[in-house]
Symmetry: none
Subunit: 199 residues, 4 copies
DNA sequence: TATGAATGAGTGTTCATTCAT
DNA sequence: TATGAATGAACACTCATTCAT
């Protein structure tokens, strides 16, 4: 009684699903996924961290894989650093931001999980590509295109190759255990663009 | 330090341990480690693949972690491609060989496992660095030093940064799902060294 | 006693419960109970089959056991085959009808469930006796009494024992996996009544 | 050292499997299977009742179904009652023994489980037929054949039908809740063989 | 030494039931 | 009343490790 049409038709039948829980669960899942990896992320753990019951998780995500996938989908390209007019400075900023993202908590570990699980759970790597890798590449690519236009980058160079080189340098350094300290982004951009060579 | 369980507990007394089995076990472990990852590598599986019993494995490696570490230690840098006089060609060859190593069955998956396990089992990443990453970097670095001497590379560029860019490009492309096809190494070297820019 | 949860808790006050749903639920429950057994009948399944929500079921039946019991109570002895004057023919018809009931979809499975659950849920077997077993026995018994009167059956024979033998033959054959094909009822009646022996 | 050829080849490698446990596990399983039914028989429960760990059970029986099947296979036709010269008396004895088997602990419940699980786990009913139903039928059948020879049974009667009637009477009475007390077997044999009818 | 047996902790998923609209 | 959400208790099965030959 007293219910409006909207109430009845909006799919409001039954107890409404607590919307906050969705996010809490995904947060907990993403945290555990990064910190411990897929196979070391027990659903009990996610439930406990999220403050819900395991069954509540299963209500939203049929399987553990689906949960992990949904958690990965929440990855959003960190708000891109603002673009100034200086292309080279923008490249450095973008690269530094990327390295920071990797360093911050669990970036590399998350990548590791997706790679390690590829044979068993290919969705993870695929989603990671869509949600994290590609957006970053696109942003970088856009900057490089502008760099070409401005003559900062040799027009003959394959922009995809340069994108890979710049972003890849971060992977390589993390993997090598080289701490990417102050000035790292500058040095890398310099190394890759090799501008000094051109007097 | 660096001694395995077997090293520590046994001298020459008693029936000597069949040394062949050691190798067979490590081979099987490395294969499963790459193909399925640490957490998906059951000791039963290693035992079966190696044709020994689980207990035999534990006789040599106290824990699963020790086994995995020992397996990683068997990684040897693939025989470096022969060096010609042409530095640039050597760089391309080295890079192509690296990419091939990554692609060949389980390179990226193995990296993924080491990264994913870093929080739980830091030894893996550490050993992977020593046995796989560093040797490769060293080889690349040597070529780059020669490139500097010959003026192919700007003497101002940080050779470590360039090393990271070149090798990292391979990681980045794998991670992005870009198939590294024919001519990939050439394009990457060109992009990184940016030679075309210097008329 | 014999009152359902609904009977007990509600008079005529408030919005009356949709009576159609009651039947739909019980139908669905009886079907699943026969097809899959008590422990393999999930309430979700009943709810889905009936097109209602789980909570709606619990509104009428406090527990799963009560639901199953109510479903069993809907069992009605199949309309008895018409009685002709010929007692022997009537016995055969009755027996054939019984065997058909057992064979038809889930007769034996339902019996199995009631028997298997006896220790855990004695109500089921009890209700099954009242609603299915006894009515059938009574019908058979009536025929046998007439048979006695007409001299077809030896007046000294215990009619209950003969009833058990005739109906039981059907159980025994199902349990033995003997397909009860054409002429089965005739042969059984002949075997039990053993009339041929009396010239 | 000191091992004979037999020791090595007899399959004696490694710790020998404790032979008692096999039986204890199967006993516990059969007990729980009869008392509670297949779906209410938790492996934990079997393990606890048998005093072994769950994994020990899985070492011998891959799945719960396999365990239940193996437990059923241990069913042996109870040592047949001794045959006297008197065929009728033997029939009565056989039938009484059968009814006692059904009554003793969990006979009917076990039948119920096998019937109830038929759709989901047909092996159970199948094994029950082989191990319990058929042997009993065979014994009964043998007696009936002798009865025919001796003229106690009409030679025209289908012996399988009579077998089903005799054994089935026991099912029917249990299902009807009729307590099969003193003299039950005699009355049933009398009713089925219907001898009194022949003066 | 090497083997198969044995174990205890852990894990994903299901389900009857209760709650909040 | 009726609905979907939420829960806690099970449960079958896996696995690293230890034991007894």
């Amino acid at each position: 009684m007293g219910k409006t049409h909207a109430d009845r038709c909006h799919g409001a039948a039954g107890r409404p699903r607590c919307p906050a829980k969705e996010a809490v669960i995904l947060d907990a899942a993403l945290m555990l996924l990064s910190e411990r990896g897929f196979t070391r992320m027990p659903l009990d753990g996610v439930a406990r961290a999220a403050g819900v019951s395991k069954a509540t998780i299963h209500l939203r995500f049929r399987t553990k894989t689906e949960l992990a996938a949904a958690a990965l989908k929440t990855l959003r390209p960190s708000s891109a650093p603002p673009e100034t007019g200086d292309v080279r400075a923008d490249l450095v900023a973008q690269l530094a931001d990327f390295a920071a993202t990797l360093t911050r908590t669990p970036g590399m570990a998350l990548i590791g999980t997706c790679l390690a699980e590829e044979a068993h759970t290919p969705e993870l790597l695929q989603l990671f590509r869509e949600c994290a890798v590609q957006p970053r590449r696109d942003a970088m690519r856009r900057l490089l295109d502008r760099a070409c236009v401005q003559g900062v980058l040799a027009s003959g160079a394959d922009p995809d190759a340069v994108t890979s080189a710049l972003l890849g340098a971060s992977y390589a350094d993390h993997l090598a255990g080289r701490t990417t300290a102050e000035g790292w982004a500058e040095r890398t951009v310099a190394g890759v663009l090799a501008l000094p060579v051109c007097p």
